[in-house]
């Protein structure tokens, strides 16, 4: 709209806008770029030149990490936990959401309200009893001990999002299928799920990002270094190399790289998913 109107270069409003956006962009970018570039510097150079391009590009910092077993093990652990969380969330939440969307039964709305209670408080409130529960189930120090609570805490939001989408599938379709002798289960498997790929991708992406970035649950549930996902691993790494910032910065860059790549590839789903609460259920 506004760019159609011809404006002189000295329009103060436009100038303010450019300056303001530029300032915020610098505020966001500088810490990120300094981290990326810091990984290419020596510790000595970092001290005198934390902002600029490195005078000597120290590829060794990054190479050492990339060729270490440690880095790949952290990523693998995170990937295993997140994949478990996503798979289990999608299966359990879509089945529940289908029931809430298409099957009328006594207590349906009550059970749905019960599930949505999960939206109201963070996992941290009950983390001690949760720890004891996971221990009593013998899941302490296992991938499932982290993934199962993550699934449980992501269920409320996932069921709400999926249910809303499922309900928009024309009822006539279900009606026709049922008349033709198709069961609810088959309808779910062969009609609902294939039609719902976008929302499944969205829910899967939110669950993945949350699980990939999670810190508190793995911190409480895991004791063995070999099982640590990357947020735990990077804290251990920082503890070991306390002030060798050039190494820590390289390590940070390499561990957030997968997130940034995923973000660039799946922008649409990530933005839709993470702001999904905005669309009223």
């Amino acid at each position: 709209m506004s760019n159609v109107e011809t404006r002189s270069a000295f329009d103060p409003a436009a100038l303010f806008k450019v300056l303001f956006l530029g300032l915020v962009a610098v505020f966001v970018l500088v810490p990120l770029l300094a981290t990326l570039l810091g990984g290419f510097k020596s510790l000595g150079e970092l001290r005198v030149n934390p902002f600029g391009l490195p005078r000597h590009w120290e590829w060794q910092n990054y190479a050492d990490i990339l060729f270490s077993a440690r880095y790949w093990q952290l990523l693998r652990n995170s990937l295993v936990i997140s994949t478990l969380a996503v798979t289990l969330t999608l299966i359990t939440a879509s089945m529940a959401a289908f029931t809430f969307a298409h099957v009328r039964f006594y207590g349906s709305s009550m059970l749905l309200s019960y599930l949505t209670l999960g939206l109201l408080f963070p996992a941290a409130t009950a983390v001690l009893p949760l720890f004891i529960k996971v221990r009593d189930l013998g899941l302490l120090d296992t991938y499932f001990g982290v993934a199962l609570p993550q699934v449980a805490f992501s269920l409320a939001m996932s069921v709400l999002l999926l249910r809303r989408f499922f309900r928009d599938i024309p009822y006539e379709l279900l009606e026709a299928a049922l008349v033709d002798g198709c069961s609810y289960v088959k309808f779910f498997r062969y009609v609902t799920l294939p039609l719902s790929r976008p929302i499944l991708a969205t829910v899967g992406t939110i669950t993945f990002v949350n699980s990939w970035n999670a810190y508190l649950l793995p911190l409480v549930m895991l004791n063995t270094d070999a099982l640590y996902p990357w947020p735990l691993g990077i804290m251990v790494y920082q503890g070991e190399y306390s002030s060798e910032w050039h190494l820590i910065l390289a390590f940070i860059t390499l561990t957030i790289l997968p997130t940034i790549i995923l973000f660039l590839l799946a922008q649409k789903h990530i933005v839709a998913g993470l702001t999904a609460g905005a669309v009223k259920g």
Partner: protein, 314 residues
């Protein structure tokens, strides 16, 4: 909307056993029963086991002095709550959560709204800037915290370098009780403003353009249109953004750990980092559960009150 309404009306009809066209081989009770038995239990079981039961157990454990081994036997009633409320660090943590909320409302929200208004229009680079501003939100809190502990570092950090160019002795922001919380607050804004901006952009794009056009045709200036048409239309989203900011601040933890671990001298604890430092890391199950129950009560009371007062129609 219309489709959804049709779908829900039809869904209600299923309940009537006499729904004629389906009577032959329709959604019989058998069919529905199978779905109920197969599809609901996994989700309900997981949710009950790992979300609802622990909350109930937190209330139970909070009445004991217990280190987590064996069964809790040492019943002490409400003493754990008394201990929590008598701890100075608890009130500091509560104050810090209030500070985070205040900054979210006074700084982050106006910033997000301004940016959204600028970036909702189409121009070259608008989408790229939106993505850039959203990026901090998807980075792990742990990584963000570590990046900023570098930024603030008194020897190698960016802040130190700026101070040195002015010839001043660089401060150790995270190591001082006066500045640690301020430093955390800046990171909170850096990390979360993009999320709120995206909420507003989504809402702006869903606005009825005719209303804005009508106001312009009636001779309203840009500022008037903004103040009397656009912003009022955004109220539901603003209320939602405030809701997220408050709930989010009450669970802030991951970001604080790499920055300050709640220190120095508890000056930058949030409720959850206070819970971690005093309950979890020392396995004081009763005491930690009491903190959890208090936090739970705050969250739930806030959520219900807020919904009742501000989001009645949503």
């Amino acid at each position: 909307m219309v489709e959804r309404r049709i779908a829900s009306v039809s869904a209600m009809d299923v309940a009537k056993p006499s729904f004629a066209p389906l009577a032959v081989r329709g959604p019989s009770w058998d069919g529905r029963f199978t779905v109920l038995i197969l599809f609901l239990p996994p989700a309900l079981l997981l949710f009950t086991l790992f979300v609802m039961l622990p909350i109930g157990e937190a209330a139970w454990y909070s009445a004991f002095n217990w280190n987590g081994f064996g069964r809790p036997t040492n019943w002490i009633g409400f003493d754990n709550y008394r201990f929590v409320l008598e701890t100075r660090a608890f009130w500091l943590a509560l104050r810090n959560n209030a500070l985070i909320i205040a900054v979210s409302l006074a700084v982050q929200l106006p910033l997000a709204l301004t940016l959204a208004l600028m970036l909702a229009e189409r121009f070259r680079g608008a989408v790229a800037l939106r993505m850039l501003f959203f990026m901090p939100y998807i980075l792990a809190e742990i990584a963000t915290g570590l990046i900023f502990s570098f930024v603030y570092d008194g020897d190698y950090g960016l802040v130190a370098s700026i101070w040195r160019t002015f010839g001043a002795e660089p401060p150790h922001l995270l190591a001082s009780t006066d500045t640690a919380m301020l430093a955390v607050l800046i990171v909170v804004v850096w990390k979360y403003f993009g999320f709120h901006m995206m909420l507003f952009i989504a809402a702006l794009q869903g606005l009825d353009k005719n209303l804005v056009e009508a106001a312009r045709i009636d001779g309203a200036t840009r500022t008037q249109t903004l103040r009397h048409v656009v912003i009022p239309l955004l109220y539901p989203t603003i209320r939602l953004s405030v809701f997220f900011a408050i709930i989010g601040s009450l669970q802030l933890f991951d970001l604080v750990m790499p920055l300050t671990r709640g220190g120095p001298a508890d000056s930058s604890n949030t409720m959850v980092s206070f819970l971690y430092n005093n309950g979890i890391s020392r396995m004081r199950v009763g005491y930690g559960s009491a903190i959890g129950v208090i936090l739970f009560a705050i969250c739930v009371t806030f959520a219900f009150t807020y919904k009742r007062w501000f989001m009645r129609d949503e």
